[in-house]
């Protein structure tokens, strides 16, 4: 854990704290249907035209059921739109590599994955997706799934802030305004910056480079039908082949990567995601990508404080998030810097840490920080391969996802996830002192706690249920890249990531099979929509309540006591749900690594 790492961590925290308030204030204007921004002269006419084409009356607000229904129908239409593009990729334009259509299960998995802001990828981007599929089929959801998440969070905050109110805003207005006024302008600037660091943005076919030093490889001999030729001993016949070319990936990458990060989508253009030198060319591009992952989620806590007229509460929620975040960063950094004792015994330098799956330009610290950021938010982009992390280093991203990604969290999803924990924390505090719990002047009653618990139980059930199922199924075990406890971790990570709408992976798992594609698709749908519906019900219920003036018995939702109670609630529920499963995966693997046991 070198000094340079501490300096970079301090820089990151200062930058994040500095953008939180301006972002929150801007969100306040964007999420107010009549809010003014300096972009109005350019975007105002476009906004009004969009409403007219949609047949939407922007001044008409919706109750929680109408709001949720609009969101669900919009998601369904978008999902079908992307499914169609992926299935018809071979006959659509902008496909210079001549890539074929996706199989039905892969197209389903991918369409669901991007609709739900997960961006789980069962495919290899550069050999599967045409430029049109990337730029339209996938990037479309990078924008609108993020906007939908922010809309839901805004609706919940309105429910908390309003009293005796039936409506929570208009979904269409929130969707359009967030996309136009927040996401597009930032992405435009960010994408151009990324190109300045070396990210590609073109429509050329892949470039062939002539290698400086050609080399020979031995590959399995194939017959005319593409089948492997077996020798008399039943083993594949090997032939020598000279490699003298390098095929270099091209395409409209920068425009997509900007929104991939800002919208906490995380779906890589290339297979190696943000580890790929084109997709994350420099440490500065890396720094700003990490910052953009947290930007909106962090700003939303300030927005919460403003709208509920309790700024101390907004900062308390932010403080709880940062406490959990820093604990994760330090644990992951420490584990990766300590390295793998098995490899160190073989002769790997002690001071270098665990470099398997990491890039030299980022080093140990930036890889550990990125892994924690991307799983604390529900982003899922990776700049190092989590599968090759040490046992405890890999435990941090996995546990982050299982806590519900409430540490800043996905754009929108993080805040509404955290507010569920706030409701529970207030409820628990109320039980401890024997009073009816109150949250910002509103009585938290049985219905509210039921809805909050429902949204949490759904996640736990999906993650553990699916993992239990695959770990005893033939098709599940066939996809593993690692044996022993690490194999269980691969499966547990996959369904945590899918359900948590994260999208990162222990990527050794071969998930592009009909069974994995379908079950992961279902896990993603459960994790997104079965969480949103109870949360919107909670928002509707809170909005209708009356506000009682604070009394001596009111539990304050700011200050250190509240932060500790909130962090405790998050950790307690996470630990109760997932410690047994984690003990069989990364925790036992840690002790086996220390003993030098291999699988």
């Amino acid at each position: 854990m070198q000094t340079s790492g501490w300096i970079q961590l301090a820089l990151y925290m200062v930058a994040l704290a500095a953008i939180t308030k301006p972002m929150g204030l801007y969100l306040l204007r964007v999420l107010d249907a009549n809010g003014r921004t300096w972009l109005d002269p350019v975007l105002g006419p476009l906004e009004r035209l969009t409403y007219r084409l949609m047949g939407v009356k922007p001044e008409r607000e919706q109750d929680w059921k109408q709001y949720t229904l609009a969101m669900l129908i919009f998601s369904l239409v978008g999902c079908v739109f992307t499914y169609a593009i992926l299935r018809l990729q071979n006959i659509l334009p902008l496909n210079p590599q001549g890539l074929g259509a996706l199989s039905p299960d892969l197209a389903f998995n991918t369409a669901v994955s991007f609709t739900t802001n997960t961006n789980w990828q069962s495919y290899v981007g550069e050999t599967t997706m045409s430029y049109l599929s990337q730029m339209v089929g996938l990037a479309f959801h990078n924008f609108v799934s993020a906007a939908s998440g922010i809309a839901i969070a805004a609706a919940l905050v309105r429910g908390i802030a309003r009293h005796s109110a039936k409506t929570l805003g208009n979904f269409w207005v929130d969707l359009v305004r967030v996309t136009y006024y927040l996401l597009l302008p930032i992405c435009l600037v960010f994408a151009v910056f990324l190109v300045s660091q070396g990210m590609i943005q073109n429509f050329k076919p892949y470039t062939k480079a002539k290698l400086v030093e050609p080399y020979k490889i031995s590959v399995e001999k194939k017959n005319n039908n593409g089948e492997t030729v077996l020798g008399t001993d039943g083993k594949p016949v090997m032939v020598e082949q000279t490699v003298d070319e390098q095929t270099i990936v091209q395409g409209p990458m920068a425009s997509q990567i900007a929104i991939k990060m800002l919208g906490t989508n995380g779906g890589g253009y290339a297979n190696a995601n943000a580890a790929h030198p084109f997709e994350n060319p420099t440490p500065l591009s890396n720094f700003l990508q990490m910052l953009s992952i947290f930007a909106v989620g962090s700003g939303l806590t300030y927005y919460l404080g403003r709208v509920t007229r309790n700024q101390a509460h907004g900062w308390a929620v932010w403080g709880a998030m940062m406490a959990l975040f820093l604990a994760g960063v330090l644990a992951c950094w420490w584990a990766e810097a300590a390295g793998n004792p098995i490899h160190q015994k073989l002769g790997v330098a002690l001071a270098d840490g665990n470099m398997e799956g990491k890039e030299v330009r980022f080093g140990i610290f930036n890889s550990a920080l990125f892994a924690t950021v991307t799983t604390a938010a529900s982003c899922g982009a990776v700049n190092a391969m989590h599968d090759s992390f040490t046992a405890l280093g890999g435990l941090v991203p996995l546990f982050n996802i299982e806590l519900g990604e409430v540490v800043v969290g996905g754009v929108g999803a993080g805040l509404y996830g955290m507010l569920v924990f706030v409701v529970l924390a207030v409820f628990i505090a109320g039980l401890m002192v024997g009073r009816t719990p109150e949250y910002l002047g509103k009585k938290i009653q049985a219905y509210d706690v039921k809805m909050a618990m429902l949204s949490l139980l759904v996640l736990c059930l999906s993650i553990l249920g699916f993992t239990a199922w695959v770990s005893v199924s033939k098709w599940g075990l066939a996809g593993l890249n690692n044996a022993g406890p690490h194999g269980l971790s691969e499966m547990l990570y996959a369904y945590s990531s899918g359900t948590g709408n994260n999208g990162s992976a222990f990527a050794g798992l071969t998930a592009n099979t009909p069974w994995y594609n379908t079950t992961l698709g279902l896990a993603m749908l459960i994790g997104r929509f079965l969480m949103i519906v109870p949360i919107m019900a909670l928002a509707g219920s809170l909005g209708m309540k009356k506000i009682a003036p604070p009394s001596a018995g009111t539990f304050p939702v700011s200050g250190l006591t509240f932060v500790i109670l909130l962090v405790g609630t998050v950790l307690l529920i996470g630990a109760l749900n997932f410690l047994p499963a984690l003990a069989l995966g990364p925790i036992v693997e840690h002790f086996l690594t220390a003993q030098g046991k291999l699988f």
Binding site: G55, F143, F203, V249, D352, G394, G508
Partner: protein, 193 residues
């Protein structure tokens, strides 16, 4: 029912309009600016020889095995440094396969560079990167290879070390990231101008 139909119209129209703006207009504006202001970078930072032939990209590693070249990190991308098939090994900490591979790479690295059997080997020299395309090796790794390369190239170790310093990139802005030596650019410089 009437409500669902009105939502459907909103959903279909907003999908079309937002797709046109976010997936048509926006990437084209970025494309236009990128190709005007950062033409070289937007097209892959390609290294083009005097004969006009593309030799690679400044940002992407290439495979080298000959003793007169600096060797990059091991790669799990396709058959090694396949820049249309980026990938890490994804092998975990208790993987027998990974452990065996590292053991063999350490032996090879020590033999090639004249190290003793007890000398520690830089981690980046024997582990695959996440992308399989890492253009860099650590400065320590490059220095350990310098003597071998100098001998094979018939140049003095000082000249080679000067080249290593020239192609050492980072930390960016003095603080961000780790320093690394760009192997492809270094090896091309060894080939001469």
């Amino acid at each position: 029912m009437k409500e669902i139909i009105s939502h459907l119209r909103g959903a279909v129209m907003s999908t079309l309009v937002l797709a046109a703006v976010c997936c048509g207009l926006y990437p084209l504006i970025v494309f236009g600016i990128a190709q005007t202001v950062f033409r070289d970078r937007a097209n892959g930072s390609l290294i083009v020889g005097k004969d006009g032939i593309v030799r690679g990209s400044k940002l992407l590693g290439q495979n080298f095995t000959g003793e007169k070249y600096f060797h990059p990190r091991p790669s799990a991308a396709g058959n090694g440094y396949d820049a249309a098939n980026s990938s890490g090994s994804n092998l975990g900490p208790t993987s027998q396969k990974l452990s065996d591979a590292i053991k063999e790479r350490i032996a090879t690295y020590r033999r090639e560079n004249g190290l003793k059997d007890t000398d520690p080997v830089p981690a980046d020299a024997v582990t695959a990167s996440g992308s399989g395309l890492d253009p860099h090796i650590s400065v320590r790794n490059a220095e350990l290879q310098a003597a071998r390369v100098a001998k094979a190239q018939g140049q003095s170790p000082e000249e080679i070390r000067a080249l290593i310093r020239r192609f050492t990139e980072g930390p960016q802005l003095g603080v961000l990231g780790e320093p690394g030596v760009n192997v492809l650019r270094l090896n091309l410089a060894l080939e001469g101008p």
